[in-house]
Assembly symmetry: C2
């Protein structure tokens, strides 16, 4: 019989998806240019021409049996070796191919990382505000997600609350920096403090506690911002990456788990992920994409647009009186709503064709997310709508 | 802590993989041409040039945001509509896009199909000989795999044993025709009889019993062979397909689940698969591959090679006295070994650089599998080795 568990999940549609669907419908009525859709984290800048050229070159010149042949479940060995080399050069690490597990994007990476280091009933801690899909990656694995409330002053880690929640059942800490939805980048001081606490707790509890570091926005960091590579600071780290945002190829679903060579069982993590993958239907990304991306490592789309958009919005929002921590990266900003009920706030914004996402589903009610991966001209045009919205609804 | 469950799985390496690794090592010693490696089911004919040209054309002309943009978890809607149309035209069905769920190959398709129609503890029945990865797809979902012993006279279904095993806990029947490893295609009579029994049992037990039809070899059927489309014969059918074998693009991992429009909750199967996918890390295949394959539906690699290879091997094997049911499709043949212990038989064959896979891991000891997706010239050269092997080891 059709599974009741998955049937029951159908009712609970993602709020982000709902807002985005409303935006699409509204665009049919008044034209796409007139809807200020800040709902979806979908890259707005094109993939670089070099990538397109590389794929065409491969299709033209490379042996088709190599290009389209089965890759190991862990990923193509030569591709994994190139990724390891790139990470070593960029971050001063010591990865080899055996530490890399290729995945269908960061979602696949985090879902496998959770399974590889937890048993059902184990606890995984994350920090609000957080990406709502974490609920799914973790709950479906049988582990339990515990959420530390946000430090809304800085959106760094709320250590006081963290130390209340961590306990001997905690097996992993899931962090996301640069952060969706806050846009904040954890500072070196934050990471050092987190590492110190975890090292102490590992001793106290007598077992490993892993950091699962979800890093799809690692390459979208704004000028002058300190963006530490997490795995440098804590040995038991699994870094989860995706090329979706940095290279603007979200549909190609290419990412990886990189296990710190000094982590417990570091040489087993990738092969164990392959066993997990084997049972849930092979999370192995397309061979052509693996080979193509390995040939252009370090290349990114023109990410400067996002910083430009952020400055425009941040300046307007603060001048309108919004409380807002300035983003250090990503293409998100997470201001405080002008009333306690951020769902009501976002609903009122829809009257001005502003599509904002309430912070509730990110574990941070009272705030709202704007995804500014849209054309800069549209961001500019949205400012007047923002002003009208605030003046009409909150300054009457 | 690193999961003990997945760590324990590392010991149990696939026998097929072990044989293949031995073949690779042996090739380093005596040259690839001298090792008759029949271990892996890896297509040996190249992808057609039309596919390569289509990918280059798309990369050159199609908007990159469309080509590489996020697809829905279920797959790109226009691609799913094209797949539905193709199936309707080819098999006289009535699919729409909503019945199609795109997956990373047949592995992803079967793993999702199992999860969508079973709860942990439910039973899934398959028929020996069967693809050993079924153990992983099913056990990791929490369901239980029950195996009906083979009818070694025909490798059709052993209905007598089947009726002893089916019971009220049976929620799905997992079939694979054309079959890996036997190469046999289930006849219309077999499918009609299976459908009749299941319709009766559904009434008797008062719940649905689904057929999960694993069909990666659907397009590799030899001349004159009756190869019924399973879903035509039984409403509660989920068809699982992959382009790996028919188009020779195994590394691109592209497949789908097609839910029969008349099955229970047919309009929910694909969206429920998307919920499952969401929790295990997105089984969504690469957007470029989805779009490219949808443009060449019906195109296959030159599959005639496999029939030629089969005839060569079948004639030689039978003339050497092997008991062997003639394959109707795939690129496998599954003769009876010349001694009871097929593992010992396959080990002796290695002395002649013949790499065969014992039937034990397919649930059919005493038999062995040859994957003849190799160049025809090599098959021809292997015949002398086969003769020497049989004469030296079994005719002394």
């Amino acid at each position: 019989m059709v599974s009741q568990k998955y049937k029951d999940m159908l009712g609970a549609k993602s709020v982000i998806r709902q807002m985005s669907e409303w935006a699409t419908k509204r665009a049919e009525e008044i034209g796409k240019d007139n809807v200020f859709d800040f709902s979806l984290g979908n890259p707005s800048v094109p993939v670089p021409q070099e990538f397109t050229d590389k794929v065409i070159e491969l299709m033209r010149d490379r042996d088709v049996m190599e290009l389209h042949g089965y890759s190991q479940s862990q990923g193509i060995p030569s591709v994994r070796a190139k990724f390891a080399d790139y990470l070593n050069k960029t971050f001063g690490m010591n990865y080899t191919a055996e530490h890399i597990f290729m995945t269908t994007g960061a979602a696949g990476a985090v879902a496998h990382a959770v399974r590889v280091i937890t048993e059902p009933g184990d606890e995984v801690i994350t920090f609000a505000p957080f990406f709502p899909e974490y609920n799914h990656y973790i709950n479906q694995s049988g582990a339990i997600l515990k959420v530390v409330p946000a430090d809304t002053q800085s959106f760094q880690i709320n250590f006081e609350e963290f130390e209340k929640i961590i306990n001997p059942k905690t097996m992993a800490i899931l962090i996301n920096t640069p952060n969706n939805p806050s846009g904040i980048v954890y500072s070196t001081a934050t990471i050092e403090k987190l590492a110190a606490i975890l090292n102490e707790k590992q001793k106290e509890y007598g077992h490993d506690i892993f950091i699962i570091s979800d890093e799809p926005y690692r390459d979208i960091v704004f000028e002058g911002v300190d963006a530490p590579y997490i795995s440098k600071f804590y040995d038991n780290t699994l870094s989860c990456y995706s090329f979706a945002k940095s290279l603007s190829i979200p549909g190609e679903r290419l990412g990886y788990v990189a296990a710190n060579p000094k982590c417990t069982d570091s040489e087993l993590i990738s092969v164990m992920c392959a066993q997990i993958s084997r049972g849930i239907g092979h999370n192995c990304p397309a061979s052509l994409m693996q080979i193509a991306v390995a040939e252009v490592l370090g290349l990114t789309a023109d990410l400067s647009v996002y910083e430009k958009n952020m400055e425009l919005l941040y300046n307007e929002l603060t001048s309108l009186g919004f409380e807002c921590v300035k983003p250090g990266g990503t293409f998100y900003i997470f201001p405080k709503a002008l009333e306690e009920d951020s769902v009501a706030f976002c609903q009122k914004a829809m009257k001005y064709d502003l599509v904002l996402v309430p912070g509730d589903s990110f574990g941070c009610p009272g705030y709202f997310r704007m995804a500014y991966c849209v054309e800069t001209q549209k961001v500019e045009r949205s400012l007047a709508a923002l002003r009208r919205f605030v003046e009409n609804e909150y300054r009457k």
